[in-house]
Amino acid sequence: MKLKEVDRTAMQAWSPAQQHPIYLATGTSAQQLDATFSTSASLEIFELDLSDPSLNMKSCATFSSSHRYHKLIWGPHSMTSGERVSGVLIAGGENGNVILYDPDKIIAGDTEVIIAQKDKHTGPVRALDVNMFQTNLVASGANESEIYIWDLNNFAMPMTPGVKTQPLEDISSIAWNRQVQHILASASPSGRATVWDLRKNEPIIKVSDHNNRMHCSGLAWHPDVATQMVLASEDDRLPVIQMWDLRFASSPLRVLESHTRGILAIAWSMADSELLLSCGKDAKILCSSPNTGEVLYELPTNTQWCFDIQWCPRNPAVLSAASFDGRISIYSIMGGSTDSLRQKQVDQLSSSFGNLDPFGTGQPLPPLQLPQQTVPQSVVLPLKKPPKWIQRPVGASFSFGGKLVTFENAKLQQQPGVQQQEQQHHHVYVSQVVTEKEFLARSNQLQEAVQSEGFVSYCQKKIDTAQADFEKNVWAFLKVNFEEDSRVKYLELLGYRKDDLRKKVNCAWNVKDHKQETEDLGSAKKTFNISVSGDVDGLITQALLTGNFESAVDLCLHDNRMADAIILAISGGQELLSRTQEKYFAKMQSKITRLITAVVTKNWKEIVQSCDLRNWREALAAVLTYARPDEFAALCDLLGNRLESEGDSLLQTQACLCYICAGNVEKLVACWTKAQDGNNPLSLQDLIEKVVILRKAVQLSQTVDPNVVGALLAEKMSQYANLLAAQGSIAAALTFLPANTNQPNIVLLRDRLCRARGDIPVGQEALKAQYERQPKGQAGPVVEQMQGPQAPSQQYYQQGDNPPPPGFIMPGAVNPNMPPQQVTPSNYSMYSQAGTRPTYPQTYQATQQYSCGTGGPALYQPQQPIAVPASASYTNPAPNTTPPYLPSAPAHSLPSPLYPGQPQPSPTSLNPVCSFPLPLGASFQHGRPGPPATSVAYALPTGPTEQSYKDVLSLCFLSVLGPQNGWNDPPALNRAAKKKKVPSNFLPPVPITFPIMNPLADPQSQVQQPPAPAAPMGAPSFQPPHLPAGPAVLQGGYPTAPQPLGPCVGPPAASKPSTEGAPGAPIGNAIQHVQALPTEKITKKPIPEEHLVLKTTFEALIQRCLLSASDPQTKRKLDDANKRLEFLYDKLREQTLSPTIISGLHNIVKSIETRNYQEGLNIHTHIVSTSNFSETSAFMPVLKVVLTQANKLGV
């Protein structure tokens, strides 16, 4: 789905992955002119704002530049240090200049945006790449094989990765390895790619296709496998992407042929190595899996070619493509509808009508509502295969009962070579998460107490352990509930003990007043006179004498003789007494008056209501002392209410004590809740403990229905039950859940708990009914008659696995992830097959050129410095057959000395060079047929060679830090020992001064080619033990194999030495072992007459096929087959084939004569299945190819 577009003819670079927000930089392309033919240039930065649904890119900055660009990249250098917050933008210019920009400054609108600039290169700088591991390293490539490594920290002096490759050619692309930081690859339009090891400062391997049609436009390393890379070809005749593995660099691992015309650019996703983008001159943008070759996605594009394509590093689903019609488009590969695209068109249309108000009506056009569910073609399907980044690998979800459900998927080891673990187990773990251990422990204690009814001891324990006084108090109060004579105990708790009081009173007396008082009492026995004078005393006397108590009392009160007044009032009757008390209380203002008032008037409510709340304790004590049972609870409540409503939070908490005394659970809960942090489980536990105990107490003392639960308490209890459940204590939760309540929450919770415990469900109906009672939205009746499955939607998944395209399977080489260790077994088998090689006739054509196709020797050559002194002692006793075998390694003498500083291997370590070919040569020389001999001969070298090239590989790619010395010591030892066993009739490889890496076609290198000294005959080159048999066989198995397996098959080059012009023209691929040796005629034995018919028939058949074959590929294949059948003819000459095979071949000939190719194929199958594989592997597969083709072509 297209997300955004910008109308620019420009090179593009995404901001690095670390950059947020995501920017796209564009620099005017040097190669294309846009529609305006403008020659000005600019560097622009756009922001990818996905929250804006329109197709417009938000322009952030434009910098008018004096350069036009061939390449633009954006590296994260200095981002983490903060020096350059947006990294560095690196541009390759037209005149050999490399320019560093600070994108942050460009965005800021600064004028000085160039950090540095150098024009060291010759010609346009087309290739740039930033090292992922050391982001300060940038590689650049330009004309004349120029490659520079720039250190952004020290930009002045670039380095070179090694000596320039010859011949000088343009560098079209360059790429750092994604796994090993010191490996760099460069590619040229000629189709050659060179891999450089910067530690060695030299090229370590060159890769190129055997046919020169490869026109390299793109190069990319595998994101995960260090030794793999792809090359893309721009040539319309060969519009392919080749995937190479350097461990098997003889031919591409895989060839992707999805494009019909040349490929202009490729980009490999770093987020998913299954996704390789390519765009070509067929105007397609494809996303394919390089590992299977399958096309996973084709982007909907217009008909324009794209010349540049880039994945967005930060957003893995996003890519940008620059097309020749002057547009950069941003796409998502996740599919989606293109509604927004149309919307843009609509908007553009509207805007050309003038700001949405085309007719000047003052009213903008109403937005055009596009109908939903539009035409199906607007829908773009996503990738066929889900990309890695949307596959959730891990998860953890909570579920009821404190269970945590977790799963994980062990990451696939991306290490090259480790094959998938045998059988992954896909487990889901259910865990119990207990976060509140203390809570649970306390809850258990509480349950025990309730069950055992040991409330008193429980409370006592609580009192003992309580750390806060208040807490102690509360528990003490609660405990009292279960004791006799609770009120007294309450009083005691409040600090009022009757005994204590008496003592206090006694003390108070004793100290001073007691004696005095008794003395006073004694003195009262005197006579007195009754005075009736006019003063107050007299008046009172008169009143008393007349029995007028009222007046007397009034007089006393008036005279402030309170005691007298009260005493008189007592005698004056109840009524007077009350009145007098009133007047007394009204007059007296002492501290305790009101208490006395209350006591006297029994008005406890008054106390509770009006006492100073700081005296709540006293008020409570009074209530405890005097209140009647029926009013006690209410009074406590009242006091509690007052305390609770008081602003002082300390007092608020004290209200709880009142409620406890009152036995009022609801109020306690409410009050407690107000004061506590309700979310803390422990505080809830605190509350619940008290509530439960109090409820038990209330049940004991008062006859209250225990099942009645207030709303608030119910809520708390269910909260508590929920908490318990969340800790996994479902059973406990059930016990605390109030029974007999019809509150919906609780009923539902109970049901959930019961089921969670695994009980038989209470019945769906009950539950449903419960829910029905709850108000619902528009939930209709749900369950009935849900509609049946609809027709399945369009299927776009291909059923079953696609078999890999034919011809792509090479044993041991197929799986990019396969470790060397894994490869080994198959290699061994190949070696044993290769045992047939020795059956080469000794008279084999001298002109034969075998290209050594294996990656093995080629790989280690660079490290084998010249010279094989040890092997010099081997002389060839059979001059006429001695091949001046040039092992590839020694042949590489040219480059070797050029690398000073290279640790010089010890002599022993040199040995591998010659020991590798020796056994071959030996068996070759002997020409001994028969498996035993050959297997010995071959088995020996395989170890070392295998070992050595693996070592080399690991040296280059894996053991980044390891020392180089001695890497091959062990193999060397082996070989040294082995060498003794080798028949010494082999001409040792001479020291060679010829760079084997150089392509044969290169005239320069041929000039340097030394004549083969000491080689009287030509050079029947040897077939390296690696690989050949495998591919050959497979080719047989997959007749349509597009790759003719050049390297493995020596003969082609030999039999057609002139096809490619120069002798030894590189027919093979990958590593071209340059062995254009002076040719000398070797006379071959004739083929026995009785078998000549085989040759003529086969050759005739191939000729017929060639005539009728139309496509070049088939022709190539047939040519190839023709050459390879030489193996057969050679065997015929030697008469080494077993009679059964011979007769089988004759049968095939017969069937060919009758044009019954199917029968021929059947016979072929029979032969292959019954004969010794090693005997037939060289030619039978080829024969099958021929037969199959013949059958197909119907010749």
Binding site: M334, G395, G780, M786
Partner: protein, 433 residues
């Protein structure tokens, strides 16, 4: 395959107690007991690690620097440290201070959480598992996988009985979601094949009851609305749209679609709990509550969005911006009766944010960084009581987080599953985790 279940005693030196045979399993043990089943003690290690509030500062770790999208090789740590080290006492932490007695602080040592595997379910999926969800009661487990199947297991009493193996998707199945049981046993699943399938159990057999094919790309997330609203499913897709499927009875489903909810893809949807604004306590029944339906979504545009239904139309109510990369998951915390709404979101950028909103209008959301991990964070899940957040990341680690009294989020447990492996993080490393 029925595995042995080993339950480890609590305590510092775990001693396995085999319960596989001892437990009177109510399940039919038709499958052989395999030795390969592992006893697993989930690693628990608790740290009182308060995240650095400045966690937004970018990590300079080279691992993080380069390639946020690269799959990191291998899990952290290794199975080296055996299960011998159990809970390690952390530093004495914050005091839990009940407000009751202000005069005294009750010192409570931080609870060391215990996470123990009580059941290991061998799903026999043939490919990666992408989701595993328990039903409402915690007795059935639904799993889904890249092998295109959805499986349902009865996992009561530590057993494992395969109830259903649901085939119908044609691509990897990303998520499953259980509907509330009041509607029956209903499971929704979504897949890369662009379909949402609703499965239903009728008379003991599970069958497809509805298939929704209205998306143009992978459907990444499904989530059922609170049951109070009826049977409504939200689906988020890579085509950027969110669909809302409402059951209208008679087998009919009504579809509403929010187009372009998240450009290039919606990764997660999560409903807000059904809370009537402004009321803490349940409204008297009979009166139709005035619910406001909301859900949150997260997507490839790095945004968390909150959607609200107004007059039957879904409108974008809020855009929450804090993540700098794809939002992988959002989880709206269950209501615990407080007026605050809470959402957790996690992202490709390794960050987990906790968003809270105190006002009823739902307009002011403020983010708080829970932690910045070094790898993608794929999934966040709230406990039922909304006080613990489980975070699972690309490093195959599950961490449990809890908000302390002072509002800071602390990692209370670091669960390293699989192979019984224990990753013993050195002290102080936790912050860099």
């Amino acid at each position: 395959m029925l595995e042995k279940i080993m339950v480890w005693d609590q305590g510092p030196t775990p001693r396995p107690r085999e319960t596989g045979a001892a437990l009177p399993l109510s399940v039919n043990q038709t499958q052989p007991i395999s030795d390969s089943a592992r006893a697993t003690q989930l690693h628990l290690q608790f740290h009182v690690c308060v995240h650095r509030p400045s966690g937004a500062s970018r990590s300079n770790a080279p691992g993080e620097a380069g390639q946020p999208w690269r799959a990191a090789g291998g899990a952290h740590g290794g199975p080296a440290a055996a299960a011998s080290s159990c809970a390690r006492e952390g530093p004495r932490g914050r005091a839990g201070a009940p407000r009751a007695g202000r005069d005294v602080l009750v010192l409570v040592s931080p609870p060391a959480p215990q996470v123990s595997v009580i059941n290991t379910v061998d799903t026999s999926h043939e490919d990666m598992i992408h989701d595993a969800q328990m039903d409402y009661y915690g007795t059935r487990l639904a799993t889904c996988s890249s092998d295109r199947s959805v499986k349902i297991f009865d996992v009561r009493n530590g057993g494992q009985i395969l109830i259903a193996d649901l085939r119908g998707h044609e691509g990897p199945v990303w998520q499953v979601a259980w509907a509330h049981p009041m509607y029956g046993n209903i499971l929704a699943s979504c897949s890369y094949d662009r379909k949402v399938i609703i499965w239903k159990e009728e008379n003991g057999t599970w069958e497809k009851t509805y298939e929704y094919t209205g998306h143009d790309s992978s459907v990444n997330s499904v989530c059922w609305a609170p049951h109070d609203y009826g049977l409504i499913l939200a689906c988020g897709s890579s085509d950027g749209a969110i669909s809302l499927l409402s059951y209208t009875g008679d087998g009919q489903w009504e579809v509403k679609k929010i187009s372009n909810a998240h450009t290039i893809g919606c990764n997660a949807v999560s409903w807000a709990p059904a809370v009537v604004p402004g009321s803490l306590i349940e409204q008297p029944s009979g009166q139709k509550p005035n619910y406001i339906k909301r859900f949150a979504s997260g997507g490839c545009d790095n945004l968390v969005k909150i959607w609200k239904e107004e007059d039957g139309q879904w409108k974008e109510e809020q855009k929450l911006e804090a993540h700098s990369d794809w939002v992988r998951d959002v989880a709206w915390a269950p209501s615990i009766g407080l007026p605050t709404s809470t959402i957790a979101s996690c992202s490709q950028d390794g960050r987990v944010f906790i968003w809270t909103c105190d006002d009823a209008s739902g307009n002011s959301w403020s983010p708080k960084l829970l932690h910045k991990f070094n790898d993608v964070v794929w999934h966040v899940s709230w406990s039922i009581t909304a006080n613990i957040l489980a975070v699972s990341g690309g490093d195959n680690k599950v961490t449990l987080w809890k908000e302390s009294v002072d509002g800071l989020w602390a990692c209370i447990s670091d669960v390293n599953k699989g192979q019984g492996g224990v990753s013993a993080l050195p002290e102080g490393q936790q912050n860099e985790q």
